[in-house]
């Protein structure tokens, strides 16, 4: 009974993992499409203000104005159009910051874990120091110093989050480095660098891909937090965090200004993380 239960449970996990993989990938694909074609999809100009149309409720509520599906904010800007345009910033940050953070962190982690010695000592000490910083405060500080803008946000995320990759990849590379196949590669005459790139890296790659997916979700959150405290890109451009900040102040008068960007952000972060978890299960030979 116990055994069949285990088999059942496993196939159930796999089915569930498959479903959430598709759901989250689907949502992210929709989001990418929205971001790419925002000017054509968005029903209104996201920056157009009209004080006569301020705080219109969403379409199913009494007093809604046709064409403003999700209502308007206090300045009369269309919430739906701003969410669609906000996807551009969110996804740009996710892709750019995620990838660069991954490259920097994974390289350092790989070197520390495989080369060991003083390289490992320096990198590990740096990781320790980094872990002693409160990340949100550090990112806000960096943006204040670098000045607002897309580039600054990306730099801030890379500077803060490289340790996420470095820590995990280092541990993984250390475990791989102790295995027989690495020793045989060395005996077969492969150099240290060659072994690292040709033998260790492919085996660490699944972990890196999972971390990258998770990091993209984190990048979206960091961008939202920074625009929430009004330190992201210029204040005019629509960002989810900026919309949430505005919605937070007028939550009692116009809940929709907070709810819709929040739901979008929530689903996006959840999707990235579920995608990462789903991939982790896919790569896990025990579950497969």
């Amino acid at each position: 009974m116990d055994k069949s239960g285990a088999v059942d449970g496993r196939s159930m996990i796999r089915r569930r993992a498959g479903l959430r993989l598709w759901l989250s990938a689907g949502w992210l694909a929709v989001l990418c499409a929205l971001a790419l074609f925002a000017p054509w999809i968005a029903p209104k100009d996201p920056l157009a203000q009209d004080l006569f149309l301020g705080r219109l409720p969403p379409f199913w509520v009494q007093g809604a104005e046709p064409g403003y599906w999700l209502g308007t904010d206090s300045l009369g800007r269309d919430v739906l159009s701003r969410i669609i345009h906000g996807a551009r910033v969110a996804l740009a940050v996710a892709l750019a910051a995620g990838t660069i953070t991954c490259l920097v962190g994974a390289s350092l982690g790989l070197m520390a874990g495989f080369l060991r010695g003083w390289v490992d000592m320096v990198i590990s000490r740096l990781i320790d120091i980094w872990m002693a910083f409160p990340p949100v405060l550090f990112s806000i500080l960096l943006i204040a110093v670098l000045g607002p803008g897309l580039g600054s946000i990306i730099i801030a995320i890379v500077v803060i989050d490289w340790t996420r990759f470095a820590r995990v990849v280092r541990a993984e590379a250390m475990a791989q480095g102790a295995m027989d196949y690495v020793a045989s590669a060395r005996v077969a005459g492969r150099g240290r660098l060659g072994t690292m790139v040709r033998e260790i890296l492919p085996n660490v790659l699944p972990t890196i891909v999972v971390l990258l997916t998770l990091e993209m979700g984190i990048a979206v959150i960091v961008e939202a937090i920074l625009s929430f405290v009004n330190l992201s890109i210029s204040t005019d451009d629509p960002t989810w965090g900026g919309m949430i900040a505005e919605g937070r102040t007028s939550v009692h008068q116009a809940w929709w200004v907070l709810v819709f960007p929040l739901v979008t952000l929530f689903l996006t972060v959840l999707s990235f993380s579920q995608l990462g978890e789903g991939l982790k299960d896919r790569f896990d030979p025990v579950l497969r």
Binding site: G5, G9, R125, L126, D128, I129, M131, A132, F133, P134, P135, V136, L137, F138, I140, L141, L142, A144, V145, L146, G147, G217, I218, I221, A224, I225, F228, V229, N230, L231, I244, R248, V251, H252, W255, L258, V259, L262, L265, F266, V269, L270, S273, Q274, E277
Partner: protein
Amino acid sequence: MPFLRIFLLRLLTTAITLAGVAVIVFFVIRVVPGNPIAMMLPPGATEADIARLSALYGLDKPLVAQFGIWIAGVVQGDFGTSITTRQPVLDLVLGRLPATLELSIMALVMACLLGGAAALTGTRYRGGRTEGAIDVANGMALSVPDFLWGLVLILLFGVLVPVFHISGRVTPSLDLPFATNFYLFESLIRLRFDLWADIVAHMFMPALALAIPLAAIIGQLLKQSLKETMNLDYVTLARTKGYGETRVILREALRNAALPTLTLVGVQFTFLIGGTVIIERLFSYEGLGNMAIDAVINRDLPLIQGIVILFAVIFTAVNLIVDLLYTVLNPRLRHG
């Protein structure tokens, strides 16, 4: 003796870490483009203003000398003077520290209770729908960070069913008889339960938002080690003695399963404290994090430095305590 050696070694690495933090904070603010004095002054300040202020804060000296002056002060407990309020940084920071500590500890307690309850229920009804539901809830709680949980809570319990306060630490119109800034703690000691209830109603949502992700981690890890422990011989022995399942879990398995979770809680607790920065902002809670963001926006360099250093001290102290606690509690390490 090995215990003493471990302790001294950890103390040394902690000191190195803190020194590293001090160096990085100092130079990040100064080396990166942008004159700190220009950052301090409003736009349109004259050259003479800049020169005068530079001399006042010792910023006309070379960078290394500035660092020397600053660090010598820090070691003696002098973190300089805040530019915006003209008060000593140390006083400002210590004034806000209790608020953040109370929030963090309340969140930690909530996380342990929630996570512990999830793990125990999941273990008690393992293999069934209950465990499946708990796993799904854990997964959700873990995927979404505290900032978003805070916003969700504001909507649920601040707007939809307004039972808790969504901003501040205490209702401003209340008369506070407190001698310290540990409001929650002091209101209990003074038996002022009316004030205590008001403070809790303010702290509940920010603390819960911080607690949710940590509760999920505790729930997952504790459940996993509980389930492993439940298969050990001594637990089977307790079962054959006729003890009920709930009693076996609580009395026999929990003690042994809790140790691995403890180390993790320590590391995660520092993440929770880091999370207070944005959560305090979100709930307009008058703690360190909220002050830190104001300091960054107002370009109050000495204050920023002081707060970051204090956070780093708290982080490393928590890690140090957890490491030592783990060594003390784990006999294999103590004698190893």
